[in-house]
């Protein structure tokens, strides 16, 4: 059969102009030093990236992002399954309902979370009314993770829902007819079939979670620098575009390599890439 790849060309051209060229601009800034004596090639920005101080920032950010992604998956998968099992007319409406909160401005939403979480905030008031000790989670890592889970959960639910929504029902019924328990059906059939959606969801949650900075600033009380904050600082405070670019290129390489390794270990990998 003749391949009809041409329909991908508009996208490829777009990516070449608006993604690849900017990446080269960033790469350029990361390997030059601009001073009064002109422009010189340098590796000093990358050398700084490998200082333990900054490597720790990387590790911490990736840790927090991983935890948030895992929680999103645990919360989101069952929700996606339930949504996919609803009948068609209800389903579309529910799926839009999942995403609508994210249309309200991010800053306004986060401020609202602060109203809920802070000392004498709504949540602690309720907790105290029941007679429990206050949680005091404002300005802790818990608050940061909560903020990330909240903001990225729909990005986990939607792709999983979309693959589950048309999973072949007859396959599942056949399995059940053959005496498989619901648990086995899920493990052997439903989950493997939904894996591409899960992978998409993880990508859409994990990648933005690594580089987020407003959540840790507002809900975490700015106690720790995350990689997103660090890069943001280089561009908007320190004006050290070289170091900022180097950090961002390093992050890019780190993530692309680890995703490459992940896809290598994926067993039934006919098509290449993650899919």
């Amino acid at each position: 059969m003749k391949k009809r790849n041409w329909i991908a060309y508009p996208h490829i051209v777009w990516m070449a102009i608006f993604v690849l060229v900017p990446v080269f601009i960033v790469l350029y800034y990361s390997i030059v030093s601009i001073s009064d004596n002109g422009i010189q090639l340098t590796l000093k920005h990358f050398a700084r990236v490998f200082e333990p101080l900054y490597l720790n920032v990387f590790i911490r950010s990736i840790e927090l992002a991983l935890i948030s992604t895992a929680i999103c998956l645990l919360l989101g998968y069952p929700a996606a399954m339930i949504l996919a099992s609803k009948n068609l007319s209800k389903r579309n409406m529910l799926i839009v309902l999942v995403i609508i909160p994210m249309w309200m401005n991010f800053l306004a939403r986060t401020y609202a979370w602060m109203t809920l979480l802070e000392r004498n905030g709504l949540i602690d008031t309720i907790v105290k009314a029941i007679g429990l000790p206050p949680l005091n989670i404002m300005y802790t890592d818990y608050a940061v993770v909560l903020g990330m889970v909240y903001n990225f959960l729909p990005f986990m639910i939607l792709p999983i829902y979309s693959v589950l929504s048309k999973t072949n029902k007859s396959v599942i019924e056949a399995a059940e007819d053959l005496g498989a328990t619901p648990m086995v059906t899920f493990k052997r059939i439903v989950f493997p079939l939904s894996l591409p959606g899960v992978m998409s969801g993880i990508t859409m949650v994990f990648l933005p979670a690594v580089t987020t900075f407003v959540i840790s600033e507002l809900l975490g009380g700015g106690q720790y620098t995350l990689i997103g904050n660090l890069i943001q600082q280089q561009f908007t405070l320190t004006m050290d575009w070289g170091f900022g670019s180097a950090l961002s290129i390093f992050l890019m390489i780190l993530i692309l390599i680890s995703m490459g390794i992940m896809s290598k270990y994926e067993k039934e990998n006919e098509g290449g890439g993650l899919w």
């Binding site: 900054y54 920032v57 004498n120 700015g222 106690q223 600082q233 561009f235 908007t236 320190t238």
Partner: protein, 350 residues
């Protein structure tokens, strides 16, 4: 399926409408136009309207949220603004990099109303490039129901009695700056040893700090979330109006005194009209309107007289020279910025 295609055709129709709208508005500016770039919510909007009406000049008005982001856009040559309102140290940086025009003060007769205290300052020593728009200080705002002792020194921010009751600014320049002041150094220091000392102090303070905050500090203090916070005076005025228990102090060691001033960037193609605008902003009635709307302190002496007495006699908004005698204006740190950034990252990673 049909719905999808009708959506696509709707989109095409929309595209046409928008593009035609974009084109007509693009051509619509046949008269004189100036472009102004100011902080968010930092002007009484009616002032722009009245300027347009009086001079027949159209104003394109954009807003930014911090100096550095504004600088990045101007530096890239992305935009041809005529008037900017950066802060002191940023004006210094921009003059050093030859990004600003000298203002022709013959065209700014209203400059005579600007208080002489605010002329010839470090960031514009010969008064060539900038006209002050708003000014203020940095100090401690504290809740008098939670803090009973007198507050007059930065040292109180290191008092273990207020563990987890202290809010610091999530701003490297300000937080390191006040620590330097407490230690008796200049807040513009580039001396490694002094900065190292400040770093140790801030690391020592970290367990006492509830959070490093930005704009949300206002709500936090109004809502009695903390006992004290480092804030800008303009915000302090607003906070004290909302919560009567709050008090503002400029510590005796001295502090930072800041200015947001109007300048004309070299991207401007209409410098004469820009000067017209700057002069208009210094008009007594107009400066009064802006000061009244924003609530920050105006450097315009006549406009100050029109403001309510209880505001102008309040030392929070209008400290006299004695209150700020140890205070300094920020200078551009240039090459030392990465050092400050590294110190801040080290503090944050403890």
């Amino acid at each position: 399926m049909k719905r999808f295609f009708s959506a696509v055709s709707l989109f095409l129709a929309l595209l046409i409408i928008v593009f035609s709208a974009a084109i007509t508005t693009g051509c619509g500016s046949n008269g004189r136009t100036i472009k102004v770039y100011n902080w968010g919510d930092y002007i009484d909007k009616s002032v722009i309207k009245s300027f347009e009406k009086q001079y027949g000049i159209n104003v394109v008005y954009d807003e930014f949220a911090n100096n550095e982001e504004m600088y990045a856009k101007i530096k890239a040559g992305a935009l041809d603004y005529d008037v900017l309102v950066p802060s002191d140290y940023m004006i210094k940086r921009m003059t050093n990099e030859d990004m600003l025009y000298k203002i022709n003060f013959d065209n700014i007769p209203n400059y005579k109303y600007i208080d002489d205290r605010f002329k010839n300052l470090g960031y514009d020593p010969k008064n060539e490039y900038s006209v002050p728009y708003m000014w203020g200080t940095v100090g401690i705002v504290y809740n008098s129901t939670m803090v009973k002792e007198p507050v007059n020194s930065w040292k109180i921010l290191w008092n273990p009695k207020y563990k987890k009751q202290i809010l610091m600014l999530d701003s490297q320049r300000d937080s390191i700056g006040i620590t330097l002041k407490m230690l008796g150094y200049s807040l513009n220091t580039k001396d490694q040893k002094q900065l190292e000392e400040a770093k140790q102090k801030l690391i020592e303070q970290k367990p006492l700090v509830l959070a490093y905050v930005g704009d949300q500090v206002k709500d936090q203090m109004i809502g009695n979330q903390a006992a004290m916070a480092v804030v800008w005076s303009g915000d302090a005025i607003y906070m004290m109006r909302e919560n009567k228990d709050l008090k503002y102090v400029i510590p005796k060691e001295g502090s930072n005194i800041w200015f947001d001033s109007m300048v004309i960037p070299k991207t401007s193609k209409h410098t004469a009209d820009a000067e017209l605008f700057i002069n208009y902003m210094c008009d007594t009635q107009i400066a009064y309107k802006n000061a009244d709307y924003i609530g920050y302190s105006t450097p315009q002496t006549e406009a100050k007289k029109l403001l309510p007495k209880e505001l102008t006699s309040d030392k929070t908004a209008y400290p006299d020279e004695g209150d700020v005698k140890n205070s300094e204006v920020f200078e551009d740190l240039a090459d030392s910025l990465p050092l400050y950034d590294k110190i801040w990252t080290e503090i944050k990673s403890k």
